[in-house]
């Protein structure tokens, strides 16, 4: 009857922690690399290369915004996983009490 459910809340909580401590810092590194060394002075493209010097800041800003969005998405994953682990944990505790 229905699909089988098997859950270890601690493991889900641990996965949320992995996202916070390992996955997010890896993406943060991309943002830091561009933030520290990605800005190019208009003159570096030369006056002849003005087309490129105008388009470049827009590309850079897009990646900043996109990285910010994905960092927020990872925060959302971690938060929801913690909530899920908490809910399963609470349900388990409740059922234990019922059966005792």
């Amino acid at each position: 009857m229905g699909s089988e459910i098997s859950v270890t809340p601690e493991r889900i909580g641990q996965h949320a922690e992995e996202i916070r401590s390992a996955v997010r810092p890896a993406l943060e590194k991309a943002r830091t690399a561009l933030n520290e060394k990605g800005t190019i002075e208009g003159g570096d493209f030369s006056v002849t290369g003005t087309m490129a010097s105008m388009a470049y800041p827009m590309g850079l800003q897009f990646v900043y915004e996109d990285l910010n969005t994905h960092l927020e998405m990872l925060d959302g994953f971690a938060k929801n996983l913690t909530t899920t682990a908490g809910n399963y944990g609470a349900a388990e505790t409740a059922s234990t009490i019922t059966y005792v």
Binding site: S3, E4, I5, S6, V7, T8, R11, I12, H15, E18, I19, A22, V23, A26, L27, K29, A30, R31, A33, L34, N35, E36, K37, G38, T39, I40, E41, G42, G43, D44, F45, S46, V47, T48, G49, T50, M51, A52, S53, M54, A55, Y56, P57, M58, G59, L60, Q61, F62, V63, Y64, E65, D66, L67, N68, T69, H70, L74, F77, N80, L81
Partner: protein, 417 residues
């Protein structure tokens, strides 16, 4: 320094040669202007390309990490409908990062290609400048009656052809810049559309935000290049007369939403002393976040001094952590880069120089900082030899020193202590 070590010397040499030839062969003046308009900084573009490569690698690593960590959760630990939903979301996330990864790599490649286009143009410019110099020598000899005078007209015709060739070469460089621009802008739009298809409902609004914030920086770059193009053209036509010879405008925003807005200008007094000055203000989500000031003076005798100081406090001045200060000062001496002529225009000369300086930084929050000194020799505006030494203090490892010597053929480092 890098493969682009010799770029500044090459472009400087080409400008000297074409500039000198213009007094015998008028079309050479326009060639010299094209060279001036086409001088960029391939070394800086290469540095930025490396940052994009690093970003691409980090995005790729994030994607792999997430996939590994999700699949490492055993069926025993989590089998339920919500796991399927989560895995679908994580899969979409990874697919979006794949697209971002490709975009970062594309930008890195476009920057590298354009850096090499600048370098190839510099090599072309030296060849053209050397040819014009030789042509001018022949024409001068003809004018002086050493060889047949008719040759002068032929030399002028050849110089006119050289101008056409240079304009075509400059056009090729401009077209390469346009291709890079397509990668930067159309590429980011394609990435946004593709990510939307992979379930990122914010990618398109990220693109729109980038267009708005990026266009301020784009307009600053456009304004700066248009003004500098005009100043270069005015200088090529009239020689002297304009006291302001170069301007620099900036409006850049970093990933923490802090704007850096400001500019600088180079001013030349009637006596030939060159004064540069500039400043920037940083303004972010938390208000005023620092600023910088810089200035310098260079006398007609070739002696120069300069100094700068900047304060940065990303979380806002008077908020949160204390900021950090950067400072620098330098002295230089060089042989005159040009000599006045009776016609009102200056004739550029090959030049050599030497410089020494000190710079450092100090973080008021952590107490860490570094001070470095450097000295070097330059020819025609590019570094020939440059030595640096550095002391770092206040870090986990206590105090550390390091040093290196750059030459056109490579960099030699002293072992770190």
């Amino acid at each position: 320094m890098s493969a682009f070590n010799s770029y500044d010397t090459l472009m400087g040499t080409a400008a000297v040669e074409a500039g000198a030839a213009q007094f015998i062969l008028p079309p050479a003046a326009m060639v010299a202007l094209q060279f001036k308009l086409s001088k960029g900084s391939p070394a800086n573009l290469e540095k930025a390309a490396q940052a994009w490569n690093d970003a691409a690698a980090s995005v790729e690593r994030t994607r792999t990490l997430l996939r590994e960590r999700v699949s490492a959760i055993s069926a025993k630990d989590w089998t339920a409908d919500d796991r399927d939903a989560y895995e679908r979301k994580a899969g979409e996330f990874a697919a979006q990062l794949d697209i971002l990864h490709v975009y970062c790599q594309a930008v890195a490649i476009a920057l590298t290609v354009f850096a090499w286009a600048l370098m190839i143009y510099a090599i072309f410019a030296v060849a053209m400048g050397t040819f014009l110099a030789a042509l001018a020598a022949v024409a001068a000899a003809a004018l002086a009656g050493i060889v047949t005078a008719e040759i002068t007209a032929a030399c002028e015709a050849i110089a006119a052809t050289c101008l056409t060739v240079t304009l075509v070469a400059t056009g090729v460089l401009a077209a390469t810049a346009q291709l890079a621009a397509v990668v930067f802008q159309a590429g980011s739009m394609l990435a946004a559309v593709a990510e939307t298809a992979k379930g990122n409902d914010r990618a398109l609004s990220d693109f729109a935000t980038a267009q708005v914030t990026g266009s301020a920086a784009a307009l600053a770059n456009l304004g700066q290049n248009v003004i500098n193009g005009g100043l270069a053209a005015a200088g090529a036509r009239a020689g002297k007369g304009l006291p302001v010879s170069e301007v620099d405008l900036d409006a850049d925003r970093n990933a923490d939403h802090t704007w850096t807005i400001g500019g600088g200008a180079t001013y030349e007094t009637p006596g030939g002393t060159e004064i540069t000055g500039g400043g920037h203000v940083k303004y972010g989500d938390h208000g005023f976040a620092g600023g910088d000031l810089s200035g310098g003076v260079k006398t007609p005798a070739g002696v120069g001094v300069n100094g700068s100081v900047g304060y940065t406090d990303e979380d806002g001045v008077f908020h949160g952590d204390a900021g950090s200060i950067d400072y620098g000062a330098g002295v230089s001496v060089e042989t005159p880069g040009s000599a006045p002529t009776g016609t009102g225009a200056d004739v550029p000369l090959p030049n050599a120089g030497a410089s020494a300086g000190i710079e450092g930084s100090h973080d008021f929050e952590t107490g860490e900082g570094s001070v470095s000194g450097s000295a070097g020799v330059q020819a025609n505006g590019g570094d020939v030899v440059k030595g640096t030494g550095k002391v770092e203090y206040g870090g986990e490892d206590g105090t550390a020193t390091s040093g290196s010597v750059d030459t056109p053929v490579g960099t030699y480092r002293t072992p770190e202590t």
